[in-house]
Symmetry: C2
Subunit: 265 residues, 2 copies
């Protein structure tokens, strides 16, 4: 199923939306958080008259299994240029995600002033990068990886096969399959689809459950490949952060992400 | 009044708290957002059995004037190690901040694994840095600056007096007055007290209203001076981000912050 189809939500009440989490987005028995954030943000955006997401924060409460989900949206403020909304995603087991976001009317923004003190990650050509494709019943790579085309920088692919580079960095290409169009919500997925950067540090960590993730979306990405970069600098107090950058094929920075994850016991 | 006194909140109902915004925290006619986040986070923490803040996201809806505020807290989940809560801060004019946060039981975290790929900002001695102290009726520096001791790196102090360095970077020292103890909430204030880093870029911007700010607090800061660093890399689509780092006197990274701000018309 397409990304747009799998992440669609349908209005069932003035402020309630329904969607169907398919099993295709699984990663070790839990549904990918990026895919869930896209569904929730679609419901929030539609409630806000289709304003585009500019900041989406999600707290992850429980792992989500395939099946129906419900998104309950609470508008907080509708301003001239920005709408602020809360949302809760629920399954039959109760709340699974709680969110807070700002959505903008692009025509009311002021894109005149610009600054870019950064650059997209330097990546080898797509065909020289490492594609993670699920094979048979092996747990790695997870089924999620068949839902898009993700290619890791060869220097950063070692962490998955026991050859960590020692630096908590992951870079790579990302695009949808069959030239499906990228939309304003896609950065939420792209920023949460790569293997954790921390897998490349030589540390005893097999998974890193996300507590909170905030993504700032600056542009609707141009069609084609995205270039992504994820980096963890600090593990302390039982937590780690992962910072992400998503750049589009026109060389524009389309999103900045940061998640706080637990160091598992 | 002390930081602790000015930011105190008092329970008025099971899930409702009250505080008093004093005029000391003003900056150009609006109360400092860091101070408001401390008040809201105190109410959230107290509701969660005094668990400590680890991730606090606030969306800023309206400027806040001095006077009473009310914080209404909605617990979302109480887990073994983490509590997730929403909150809304209101004045007589309605909601002014809406928040989402995670609060932890430090005894349940796993601080064994650690990584630090970073360092505190390199600052000249405190006495060689620039203190911003309000003087008489001049609008700059704002009254806020008399509530703590903030010293800018001399290289970064030019943006405030029309001599922007061209780089959107601000570094400096921060501590409370009269050796008042630093607490787990203080990083929320420290990370939102410095002049915007963007004032050092040579751009036509006199203010940058915050849309959303997320702060990850990793440690309760050690007593003494904090070293802080703020940096804006991208202005695009009518928005800019400001990333902050707060380090304590023992050289520990105590907080990472990121805010999304509007490029004003």
């Amino acid at each position: 199923m397409s990304y747009a189809g799998a992440s669609a939500v349908h209005r069932i009440d003035e402020l309630a939306w329904q969607g169907e989490v398919t099993e295709d987005w699984d990663i070790f028995g839990a549904t990918n958080g990026g895919y869930l954030m896209v569904m929730a943000a679609r419901a929030m955006s539609a409630t806000a008259g289709n304003r585009v997401p500019v900041s989406v924060t999600a707290h992850f409460l429980r792992p989500v299994s395939p099946g129906p989900i419900r998104v309950e949206v609470s508008p907080v403020k509708e301003g001239r240029a920005l709408s602020t909304l809360r949302a809760e995603m629920l399954t039959g087991q109760g709340p699974v995600l709680t969110l807070l976001g700002a959505f903008a009317d692009p025509d009311r923004m002021v894109p005149d002033v610009s600054l870019s003190d950064g650059a997209p990650p330097d990546l080898p050509p797509v065909e020289e990068c490492v594609r993670l494709l699920p094979a048979g019943d092996a747990p790695l790579p997870p089924p999620l990886m068949a839902q898009f085309d993700l290619r890791l920088h060869p220097e950063d692919a070692g962490g998955l096969v026991g050859r960590a580079t020692g630096r908590a960095l992951v870079r790579g290409w990302f695009r949808l399959l069959d030239r499906e169009p990228l939309d304003a919500f896609l950065p939420l997925l792209a920023a949460d689809s790569f293997p954790p950067a921390i897998f490349n540090a030589d540390l005893p960590m097999a998974w890193t459950p996300t507590v909170e993730m905030t993504t700032h979306i600056r542009e609707v990405p141009a069609q084609g490949w995205l270039r992504c970069r994820f980096h963890t600098r600090f593990i302390s107090g039982g937590f780690l952060e992962e910072d992400g950058e998503v750049w589009d094929e026109q060389g524009r920075m389309v999103a900045l992400s940061r998640q706080l994850a637990l160091v598992p016991r």
